[in-house]
Amino acid sequence: MSNTLQAPPVVQGASAPRTAGGPGRKRSILARTRPWLLLGPALAVLAILLLWPLVRVFLFSLQDYGLREIVTGDFNFIGLANYGEIFTDPTLWTIVLPNTVGFAVLAVAGTVALGTGVAVLMASLGPVWRTVVGSAIMIAWAMPAVTGTYVWVWIFDADRGIFNETLQALGLQDEPVNWFTNRYSFYAIVLLNVIHHGFPFVAITILAGLLGVPKEMLEAAEMDGANAWGRFWRIIVPNLKQVFAVVIILSTIWDFKVFAQVYLMPGGAGSNREALNLGVWSYVESFGQNRYGFGSAIAVLLTLVLLGITVVYVRTMLKEEEL
């Protein structure tokens, strides 16, 4: 892919070459504007529906944008007051940030650890079992976030869920427990859901990398007496640095903004404030309380965090291939 890109675009136009500054020949207007004609429609859609809204959410965040403003379209700029309120709100420090960051750290660690483990396992399996495991994790991966979340909610349902019923049958608890009311058990379920949905991507990506590690290297290390653990850290990890970097950053981006997985759980839509994370907080302040300005400010903060992670991601990508 990168090779074709590095090659200069020597496509010949019917009358003139398109390469910049073709040797002394004039390029027709059509040939010169063609890339922009091709790009135009897509750029227009992106500008109107992605870039302008991004600017707008920032503008909203500087306003007291509530029900009245949303109906009349009036401006009511209040400077950085929304941001001031967010940063002085204990909700941010005691609930939202720990939930968002703590969850992301655990989810990324869990996803990458399990995904790597499964990749190493799959690499050691014969073709039949590798196909079986591959198909199974594909099923976990393909499950839409919404239905996947409902299945986990059903498993942990307070009244009739199989988790509670199993614990009771085993005599581990007397009464069914509502696992969704406690903040930690709530996020433990989100964690299970997100890791279950996210590890297949990591496993498949790392497996592809593993299969590219020269067998001779591993065999040589084995002859030198390195055990499986040593071979993993000394050969596989250094060889797949780039792959690991990409899956870790992507998982971080995804796990920072889990929404449906929290929102759809009992109490997750704002009624249990202990369960709020940045994304859900922004949403419920906007659409639940009609405080669109305040919600926008939270959304801007979330965007900035993700932008920071994205910059790291883009730099990693750029190392890998030329644009």
């Binding site: 707008r56 199974a136 499950m143 009739r160 994304g279 883009v314």
Partner: protein, 263 residues
């Protein structure tokens, strides 16, 4: 042993969804691993009285229109970035990559206002417009690789034979990037099919226009949830995604690394 444990963890939710969907008494407590009373009634109810026939149709319309519109736009744009060198090209590619990481929570507030101002709230059209925009960056990013992989010599040969650019596009480039176009389309289909936050926000007031992703909430009651119906409906939603996943599974990882979308 390790393999079996892994398979159990991986498959249990899907298995449990199916088992409950086919159980006549799902949600009444004391459920066994396999349905106590095997039935199709949950599916029948969901698709008739449950309104899921309508939600399925809505989702299909939204997804198909999204796929077609974004495929056309993304293909043209990807040819531009893969085949031409022009000012701001790299900057634009980076912008596309970055825009993709923007959390939907940030876009949903201004887009709600925008769609409302266009009087498209509670309409499928409003949702489609948003989905086209959401699937474009990934489409461009992914198709760009496919276009770049088509040997330039083939295009040159077409010109030598006297073809115009448009003719070359149709007869040389298009057939060769078709597999990429299929893969990209499957991705945007899955995105449109699974999407939740915009569907909930833009269609909130019109049950008749619900997509499958938000139609599920019909079965959540004030006091008890109809788990048999919810799981049957979940099964119906999941099946098309599973089928499409099989089609693109080989490209999934590389596509995700390049474009970073996730259902």
């Amino acid at each position: 042993m390790l393999v079996l444990l892994l398979l159990g963890f991986t498959l249990f939710p899907a298995f449990w969804m199916l088992s409950s969907a086919f159980d006549a008494q799902a949600g009444s407590g004391g459920q066994q691993l396999l349905p106590r009373e095997f039935t199709f009634d949950n599916f029948a109810y969901v698709l008739t009285e449950g309104g899921f026939d309508v939600f399925l149709r809505n989702s299909a319309i939204v997804a198909v229109v999204t796929v077609l519109a974004s495929a056309v736009l993304a293909l043209l744009a990807s040819v531009a970035v893969a085949r031409f060198r022009f000012k701001f090209r790299t900057a634009m590619l980076l912008m596309i990559l970055i825009v993709q990481m923007v959390p939907l929570e940030a876009l949903v507030i201004p887009l709600f206002v925008q769609v409302r101002d266009l009087q498209l709230l509670n309409t499928l059209l409003g949702l489609m417009v948003v989905y086209v925009a959401l699937s474009l960056p990934f489409g461009i990013w992914m198709l760009r690789g496919f276009v770049a992989a088509v040997p330039v010599e083939l295009e040159e040969a077409a010109y030598i034979d006297g073809a115009t650019w448009g003719r070359m596009f149709r007869s040389v480039l298009l057939p060769l990037v078709m597999p990429g176009l299929v893969a990209t389309s499957v991705f945007s289909f899955i995105t449109a099919w699974n999407e939740f936050i915009f569907a909930m926000t833009l269609l909130g007031g019109a049950t008749a226009n619900y997509t499958v992703a938000i139609g599920l909430k019909q079965f959540f009651g004030e006091h008890s949830n109809e788990w048999g119906y919810i799981m049957a409906a979940s099964t119906i939603i999941t099946i098309p995604v599973m089928i499409f996943f099989v089609i693109v599974q080989r490209r999934l990882s590389s596509g995700l690394v390049a474009g970073a979308v996730k259902g």
